[in-house]
Amino acid sequence: MSRIAATFARLQEQGRKALIPFITAGDPEPGITVPTMHAMVEAGASILELGVPFSDPMADGPVIQHASERALKHHVGLRDVLAMVKQFRHQDSQTPVVLMGYLNPIEVMGYEAFASAALEAGVDGVLTVDMPPEEGSELAAALRSHDIDTIFLLAPTTGEARIQRICDQASGFVYYVSVKGITGSASLDTDEVARRLDLIRSKTSLPVGVGFGIKDGASAARVAKMADAVIVGSALVSRFEALQHESDKIPAQAAAFISELRTAMDE
């Protein structure tokens, strides 16, 4: 069983939901990423989503754009991100790590080379924001042959037939983007999310994570009642922005926020 499937199975046994924090690798400086990953796991994160910095993050709001810019000041590229995962794996062989980013860095490395390097580093899943399933069969095949899950986004605008098509190609879990917009945008509409999750669940048995619009313990707890996983990005990354000049405080502060969400979700 893959690390991702095993994690969802274990949580289900415990009657708990997955908490998936997103951080941008190398933000605000490369040395802080791996310690922060460990601290978040310690505080109750179930799966880690690691953003691969990109010069043109079209689907991201200002908070995550700035995180990418801070990492790029240190020239953090895909190879560096893989090295961070590898380093993380020295101490943690359990917690799944999902890379999230844009296609071009993978395109430049080459699909096969990337899949094989990702497996070697200990990556469990890959989510490519600008690669819909229509264009993704080659990359998905390369990842599958290295036992890496291909995670796809579903949006409020995704129609029923398309949800089916995407779920058929997805593995690990599917990620429901709860609002129309970029990362870090407005609050989510819980009733609407619940309706969409019912529709998605009628098409797939994969766990469904919900992201976008989760800002605090209360919104995390609300989503945890409906979804299999709660994904938090901008609300977490904005704390990195605030601490960019005292980055040694980041692991503890990130852990404190994760712990707050975990507690609210488990109540």
């Binding site: 910095p53 990109f54 010069s55 043109d56 993050p57 079209m58 689907a59 991201d60 709001g61 200002p62 754009q65 810019e69 790029l72 020239h75 590229g77 895909l78 190879r79 844009y102 296609l103 071009n104 860095p105 993978i106 395109e107 430049v108 490395m109 924001v129 600008d130 690669m131 819909p132 229509e134 264009e135 796809f152 986004l153 579903l154 949006a155 409020p156 605008t157 995704t158 129609g159 398309r162 995407i166 983007v177 129309k180 917009g181 970029i182 945008s185």
Partner: protein, 406 residues
Amino acid sequence: MSNDSRFKALLDLPDAQGHFGPYGGIFASETLMEALDALRQAYDHYKHDGEFLAELDYELRHFVGRPSPIYHARRWSEKLGGAQIWLKREDLNHTGAHKINNTVGQALLARRMGKQRIIAETGAGQHGVATATVTARYGMECVVYMGAEDIQRQKINVYRMRVLGARVEAVTSGTQTLKDALNEAMRDWVTNVDDTFYIIGTVAGPHPYPAMVRDFQAVIGREARAQIQQETGKLPDALVACVGGGSNAIGLFHPFLADDDVAFYGVEGGGLGLDSGQHAAPLCAGKPGVLHGNRTYLMEDQDGQITGTHSISAGLDYPGVGPEHAWLKDTGRANYVIATDDEAMAAFHELSRTEGIIPALESSHALAYAAKLAPTMKKDQIIVVNLSGRGDKDIHTVARLEGIEV
């Protein structure tokens, strides 16, 4: 058009998923996928709709001022001592460039799709002005995204857009230029996808934009093909056009695709020269990658990060290029070359002095290459250069570079 053209198959592109060979496609956020599909369906329908085409034709005649003339630059051709140079006068269109051919088409489509809010990205401001112009004409709301750096460089166009009733939003992310304006327009579209139509200004972006913008710009080549035959009794030997995103070039080239004896030259912004790294020439010096919704040649570093570009002309200052150009390069149908900043400046002055036509700095790149090509050809041969825009907007830039306060 000959039936045994080696390049006939190129006329059928893109395929149903928007591919030109390995290029093009749809690399977009999931939130936009259904909207892109709706746009594709609407465009596939209306491009064969008689009423739509008749309205488009009417608007192009009466609002834009088409057909644009084709002009024999006799004095300049004589001076160069080789082929005869003819200029396709897109500079004479309303708003002063070819951009409006496309914004009229997309605005008419947006109206039929019931979208009242229009967004656009702009670099030099020409596409922004062309968009603001048509939204004023049709009574639509208009928001134009423009890099903060470009807003500083192109103050007159910013004010023109405001006079026309558009809101100009400064983009302060990334390099604060065209590529970042495009990113920001995409973000707006994702957020307001239900009521908003995104008018992309060039033959890039996810399918169906590269094909749709090309079709709206192909009026340039259709007219030029008929006009040059009428004036000279034959087809030209070569076509020359500047390439930023590549819309004026593809508009000129496309109707000649299966005329194998007509050579194509796309001229990229050579900046300070390819060796300097300070240029905007992805086809000449870049590699294939994925950006802004399509696979194409890009200027990027070894990590796949998009690198900054440099060109004297803001309209060429873009690190990607339309996917159809990428395929025309790989198939050998078109040649892609550069003109440097200095060469473009020289051509700017040369055409102004010799023919009484002040060209846009973008178009000056095409002219600069034509000036190199013509002397290598015979006097009875013909080059058609797309004079894609007029130079009024560049007067301040040129004056400043020459140390003159205007």
